[in-house]
Symmetry: C2
Subunit: 154 residues, 2 copies
């Protein structure tokens, strides 16, 4: 075999930026796989269970994803019988999503991957350091998204 390992010194900065984000996705997928629920689907269920029935419009805004994307995610949840789509009483355009009894039942069994991620990731780290990290990241992304709009604001 040739040189098995690559000099870490030459690892791209991009690899790190990627890891910071994908770590949470990978963990969520791993944790939720047994329940056949994807990360985005989990977020939708989370909003429905904590806020009650919600229109797709509001969900898309809260989750910061496109309505078109949400259409597909919701279709999957409806197909599995976890969520119901009903037309809004006062606005015929809107469809209000509600968790079905089956959806609510499944939700009780689901672990909370976000809580799990926070626990394991920041276990043993001083609270002051966590606060600093959160502040620095919030400021950094704030500056970047305001100077380079496109993520259509916070």
């Amino acid at each position: 075999m040739a040189n098995e390992q690559v000099d870490p010194e030459h690892q791209s900065a991009g690899a790190w930026a990627k890891k910071y984000y994908f770590a949470t996705r990978v963990v969520m997928e791993a944790v939720l796989r047994p329940y056949d629920i994807g990360p985005t689907q989990w977020y939708v269920m989370h909003q429905l269970m904590t806020l009650g029935p919600t229109s797709q419009r509001d969900l898309a805004r809260m989750l910061q994803i496109e309505r078109a994307t949400l259409t597909g995610v919701v279709a999957a949840l409806v197909r599995k019988g976890l969520v119901e789509q009903n037309p809004d009483a006062t606005d015929q355009r809107q469809k209000v999503l509600t968790a079905t009894p089956a959806g609510a039942a499944l939700w009780q069994e689901l672990p909370d991957p976000i809580a799990l991620i926070l626990e394991t990731a920041f276990d043993g780290v001083a609270q002051a350091d966590i606060d600093t990290t959160a502040r620095v990241l919030r400021e950094a992304t704030g500056k970047l998204t305001s100077l380079f709009p496109k993520g259509k604001e916070s």
Copy 2:
């Protein structure tokens, strides 16, 4: 119009996790768009210009992307005449990538989006806080990727 704004209190945690990662992608795309170079293409060029000719195998490891993904990226660069693919002298399986004169010339004009991101994102932030943030994130992702393997290690 209905309620235009959504209560930020109810914004999903997922929205934040997403922003932290995508901020850099969005900025890179914005900065590089005039040159018709994507983020991943930029990373490839960066490696080629700083390390010299490199095999696709090594590039994939350094950029932490799959060889299959790299195939497509390289094809785009070759199509634009920025990069050359030559068989390795001692191992006929490997293809060594080299920046063409045109590629090297273009590279001179390209801004460094990573440097730009770091400057604008952390401008005015105390170095100690930056160090803390870097350390906390490194530790967190280290724990997560070791406890939930799948990203096939660092």
